[in-house]
Amino acid sequence: MTGPQVEVLLQTLISGLLLGGLYALIGIGMTLIMGVMKIINLAHGELMMVGMYIAYGLFTFFHIDPYLSVIIAAPLLFILGVLLQKYLINPVMKVDSILPENQVILTVGIGMVLANLATIFFSSDYRSTPVDYATKAWYLSDVWKSSPIELSLSFPWTVSFLFSLVITAGLWFFLTKTDTGKSIRATAQDNDAALLMGVHVEKMRVITFGLGSALVGAAGCLFIPIYYLYPDLGGQFTLIAFVITILGGLGSTVGAIVGGIVLGVFESLTSTYIGMGWAPVGRFMIFVAALIFIPGGITSLFRRKRLGR
């Protein structure tokens, strides 16, 4: 490989990794909800879109930095998630119908309303937050003068990535070190056993949906410095989240991180080497391949090794 080729490849891998870190945050929210509630939330991307509009609004009207708006948007999304779960999703889970996919269709309805409300309030124009650091970047040649190749690290991408790492670490701490976190994991693994331990399972479901929404809302705030915003962007991210969960294995947080990164890198490679417009196709090729070849997701490969005696 020639120098410039290596440069392109490395640059592609770096962008892929950064993107993947953000994807992981989106995927974790969905996988948590899927694990605990055994439903697929097709309004996930729309919740992210709501988070982005909150960050956009805070920036435009109050000049609050998007990264700072995480601490406002995430709690708001938490409340929105709790309300949705309590008053819409939960009642439907108890309804008997011919098609058990009712709850999935319900979340589609929720997503439609959210996207449409955004159109009504903000019109369907593309928006962005023109932060002054948007084009700032670090260059490899700044630190290593005689470097044979040139690589750059975009400032907002890197900061977003780091924030997503911090949030993921915080979540990991919550899930493994606190009783509430453990109760959520317990509910996902065995509903009845959790009840026997005195876990208020219904409450855990509500909290989980809130938490999943807050996570994806936070991801929205991290995306806004680097991405355009428009009301219909949600659907695309719902699918991304779903592809990640399939890739990583349903309900597995570690899987979601791995899945997110794999997807980010793969998409980045597709857009560099095949063309920008094809990135979504690459995304779904991975998805289809995962469905056919590793039905349990990437984590199932590890697990088989660990449990296989």
Partner: protein, 241 residues
């Protein structure tokens, strides 16, 4: 005489744990074979392996001299082996008659013929009165019998019954025993999992006992009853007590 069903050294692992290990037995035409064993001994797993839901991890199964251990359940059923489920699986929103018609369609494409077979089967199993009831609303006893009716309507040579008597009241129990005797008279071979010892001892020609996934006995009801291994498996040893 060649056996109708031949299970040869079948093992089945789940995540490294053996639910069945090296199970071998034969079943001859016209027999009623009882399959017993304590809870968790692997009886239902054995049915699922024979009927094709799980491929065996090791070993082979032959039915009517054909290897069926690599076939899908629907092909095994077409070959003439039908089963019932321990946890009844009626097609909930269909009527009793429609449930049985679905099965009868296995051997015919015509609605008239399928309905005729279904009605005959319903008479045979005493469910005719309930034919227009939506099966969701059927009491358990009838649902268990619907499972049997459905299996019979596929025109089987052999039928696997998984706890068709559990939870029945004494009247229903006697009716079901009567039906099983009638099934045998009609020339269909039966393999049955059952916990009602009285029933299994009374109707079986031969009994296979499983414990921890292994076959620990194979013989007549009389032999089984007096087999110390079986007594221990059921009552547990009391050396510690």
């Amino acid at each position: 005489m060649t056996p109708l069903l031949e299970v040869k050294g079948v093992s089945r692992f789940f995540g490294g744990l053996a639910a069945l290990s090296d199970v071998t037995f034969q079943l001859y035409k016209g027999e009623i074979l009882g399959l017993i064993g304590p809870n968790g001994a692997g009886k239902t797993t054995l049915f699922n392996v024979i009927n094709g839901f799980y491929p065996p991890s090791k070993g082979e199964i032959f039915f009517r001299q054909q290897k069926i251990s690599d076939m899908q359940p629907h092909r095994i059923c077409k070959l003439g082996m039908a089963r019932t489920f321990q946890v009844v699986k009626p097609l909930q929103r269909m009527t009793v008659l429609d449930n049985v018609i679905v099965s009868a369609y296995l051997r015919t494409g015509s609605r008239e013929k399928a309905e005729k077979t279904a009605v005959e089967t319903l008479h045979f199993t005493g469910l005719f009165e309930d034919r227009y009831v939506v099966s969701k609303g059927l009491p358990l006893g009838r649902r268990k019998r619907l499972e049997m009716a459905r299996a019979l309507a596929t025109g089987p040579t052999m039928i696997l019954l998984d706890e068709s008597f559990a939870g029945l009241n004494p009247t229903e129990l006697n009716e079901s025993i009567g039906i099983i005797r009638k099934i045998k008279e009609s020339g269909i071979t039966i393999m049955i999992i059952e916990h009602h010892m009285k029933v299994i001892m009374a109707i079986s020609d031969r009994i296979v006992v499983l414990n921890y996934g292994q076959k620990i006995a194979d013989g007549t009801p009389e032999q089984t009853r007096n087999n110390p291994l079986v007594v221990e498996a059921y009552l547990g040893d009391a050396q510690n007590g």
